[in-house]
Amino acid sequence: MAKRLTVSASPHVRSNETTTGIMLDVILALVPALVMSAIYFGTRALVLTAVTVASCVLSEFVCRKVMKRDNTLGDLSAVVTGIILAFNLPATLPLWMAAIGGIIAIVVVKQMFGGIGQNFVNPAMTARIILMVSFPTAMANWVVSGSDAWSADAITAATPMATLAGAQGGNIAAVSDSLPSIAEMLLGRHGGSMGEVCSIALICGGFYLLLRKVISPIIPFFFIGTVAVFMFFAGGGNIEFVIYQLLGGGLMLGAFFMATDYATSPITKKGKIIFAIGCGLITSVIRIYGSLPEGVSFSIILMNILVPHIENLTLSKPFGFVKEKKQKKEVEA
């Protein structure tokens, strides 16, 4: 009984989880995809990643200094934003464009709204969209993985998404010559953004995050599930078409790493389901009916904007809460 009674303010139970720890886990989960992209696109993939990470970290540092706020480099969120941004870019992108992307992500999207946790859309995703709108040709310069992205005459090719957009009503046979095999889709031997090509690496990273409980399975499951169901019907029941749609484009990267961003996804379970289904629907609608071959980035941004409303509508009821009956307005005397 010699122990003294400590009196302290709540919270009394604390978790050892820190932002830095979570971000480290995310970085670890991104490593396999980074290694695969280095294998496919050569050292340029690593240089591009280094540039975006440096640009993000530097912008964060300078921005916090100028705004006279605490230095938040230690939470590593800028590093994660940099890596994810690089994953969303074609490996051939001029390096200065990539650096601009990092500045947009951190300064405009994140710090102007108050820093980590305050951004209302995903920084890396928004930076990618702004780059895509600004430099449409450079951002669609896909090289076939395996060719050296440094050389000016690297072989360029349509992404599987662009090819699939030509397959009317899921008629894969019509375009099968220009499509990679499913094994190639899984391993990443096809055109696309630097980090999105190797689905297996991304899925492994995603499962690592699920095991570590960094992300909840709800969003990836419903996001990918909605796309699968939609494509099943859009493709007239063609399973092969569904598999190509799931493995192609940025779906795996988006569903596991970007839609699950804490700051820009709903907290409530119901909210997460609505959010993920919305993402899936918009992605599928853009892919099938839109003029762009890929819609993951736009779908995530659009649903990000809706998150506050989704959360408002799906707030959980406190135990024993009874809804107030609407009282008739008293007639003013």
Binding site: P94, M97, I100, V108, V133, S134, F135, A138
Partner: protein
Amino acid sequence: MAEKKGIVKEFSKGLVAENPVLRLVLGTCPTLATTTSVESAVGMGLAASVVLVCSNMAISALRKVIPDKVRIPAYIVIIASFVTIVQMAVKAFLPALDEQLGVYLPLIVVNCIILGRAEAFASKNPVLASAVDGLGMGVGFTVALFIMGAVREILGAGSFYGISIPFLAENPMLVFILPPGGFFVYGIIMAAANRLAESKGKPRAELRGCEGCPMAQNCALNNNKKEEASA
């Protein structure tokens, strides 16, 4: 001397403190639509300024004749006449500018800066003061449009007044001449104008009803409200 100072004040308030676009947030539509290049931005600013000065003078001169109940239609008729004159002049002498501005030139008729100045200032003040007020507002509008047009054209098209700038012309950031870039530049310049006004001891423009408006002190609507409250 005192009167001279008053006139200078009527002119200078339109530049920063009560800048129609950046502080009163009026005329947003032509601002966003015509600032894709410096040329069309300045053209729009000048055309609107001419109409603003002329209509302010005419409305001020007629302020005792126009019945209160039909003042808005009367103002619109006066403004529309001047817009028609300006439109015909632009069509005759600057057909290229006319093509660039397109529908936004005739739309000056319903430009809320012009109607706003007519209602808030010209209908209550003598001719000279109204003319100077219109000139100040017009210059403020034109300068704001010029800055926005310059930023958007340099970054978005890699040129300035049609003259291409080396490096930038080959890799323009298209987003700046598209609507989202317009809103972005608008917001940044607005924030800068707010800061500038604040550093001169003027209140910040904020979203808090009539009180947050930079014009609150000499606004007829606000004064009426105050009188009602005190009565």
